[in-house]
């Protein structure tokens, strides 16, 4: 199969992921397992990337895997093992809160692209989605992280809070709503629906 990428593109794509997830990963694991030192978490992060690639090449990764969530889960498991091995494992903090009942499959039961735009032709759908994707990229951080994590990645508010270093889930929720409002304004502007 031919892919529209050169080898250096593959390397760049993985590098971008590795760099962009590094700090959120460290914040996330550090919040859950403060007994681990930052250097140890750094090592776990590198080992996680090696491990997920091995799993992929060996066919142990399900189709349609959400990679950020997968990386965080594998890394979390490795971090727990490391803490247990060194007898520093006391109690893992649960990254959940009351407002996140079932974050894993959030929205998927009720929502699909077909349902959302079933009355539109394929070209219109494709154009609108392309505009949406572009506008999502132009959102200021932490908007892209919060919105993708919540609406796509299945992360809980508590998990996102750890990732972006906010002080409460209410702050994250409030920012999420502001980010959605911002995205809506940008989309309406891009589609010529706002004056």
């Amino acid at each position: 199969m031919n892919y529209p990428y050169a080898m250096e593109d593959f390397s760049q794509i993985v590098t971008n992921w590795f760099v962009s997830l590094r700090n959120p990963f460290i914040n996330y694991i550090h919040k859950a397992l403060p007994v681990l030192g930052l250097d140890e978490i750094e090592d776990i992060y590198s080992e996680t990337f090696i491990a997920i690639r091995k799993n992929l090449l060996e066919g142990n990764v399900a189709s349609g895997t959400k990679w950020k969530a997968y990386i965080f889960q594998i890394g979390y498991n490795m971090a727990v093992n490391k803490a247990k091995q060194s007898s520093r494992y006391v109690q893992v903090k649960e990254m959940t809160s009351n407002d996140d009942i079932d974050a894993t499959d959030r929205f998927e039961t009720y929502l699909s692209l077909q349902e959302v735009m079933e009355e539109e032709d394929n070209e219109t759908k494709s154009q609108r989605l392309s505009i949406l994707e572009r506008e999502i990229k132009y959102l200021p951080e932490p908007c892209e992280t919060i919105l993708k994590d919540y609406y796509y990645g299945g992360f809980s508010m508590a998990e996102i809070m750890s990732e972006i270093h906010y002080q409460s889930t209410d702050s994250v929720k409030s920012m999420k709503n502001r980010c959605m409002n911002k995205l809506r304004e940008r989309i309406k502007l891009a589609l010529g629906l706002l004056n």
Binding site: Y45, L57, K66, P140, M180
Partner: protein, 242 residues
Amino acid sequence: MNNYKDNIDMFDAYLNGTMSNTDRSVFESQLKADANLSQEFSIHKELIAGLQQAGTNADHEFENALKHLSDQEMETITERISIRNKIIPQGRVVPLRKVYSWVAVAAAVVMIAGAGGYQYHQIQTRNRLCDAIFTAGFNPDMTLTRSGDQGDSEAYSEAINRLKHGETVDAISALEKLYSEANDEMRIEYGTSLAYAYVKAHDLDKAWETINSVKSISQQLYGETPLELESLIQAMSGQNLK
């Protein structure tokens, strides 16, 4: 007239299936009766679809790239990045064993360099946090697009490019000039970039001064703080950068 932002929690609860049966029935009746609400709900679903599409595309791209990397390339990526400068989160809990070794190191530092050593370490840590906040939060593409939307000057684009390429002092001079000469509306945009530039220059006093000034203007004009500025405030407050 419906305010979209105020309805987001309700929309999400409905789509998540976390609404009670009674609330669900009420909401569905409202959707049928209120065309504005129904339209806002459609837009909300479309935004989520876009976010999911963007997430799926990024995942496919990453999976494909990961499959095609050699062991050596993978090792190079993980090793090269790992040795770059490391960030120390605020409020870190240090294991007891490490405390003892830190105490020993600290004692040696005190003997050698006196109190200045500790102060130097604090400054270094603060500077690293500033760099991390700037890198994570400043989006030059977003800034330039917005300024393009509003027909802003070339001087602003030039200043942002300078900031992007590490010419921080020149960028600050240009942004300070633009900020001092602009009307209130444009001061919000210039001021937000200027605040980021001060963070990049590790000048927290001026960063906060600018943040507070821009926040005040924005509150007066629009009754809220711009999102880009709010992100910066949250990041700086979260790291106790006063």
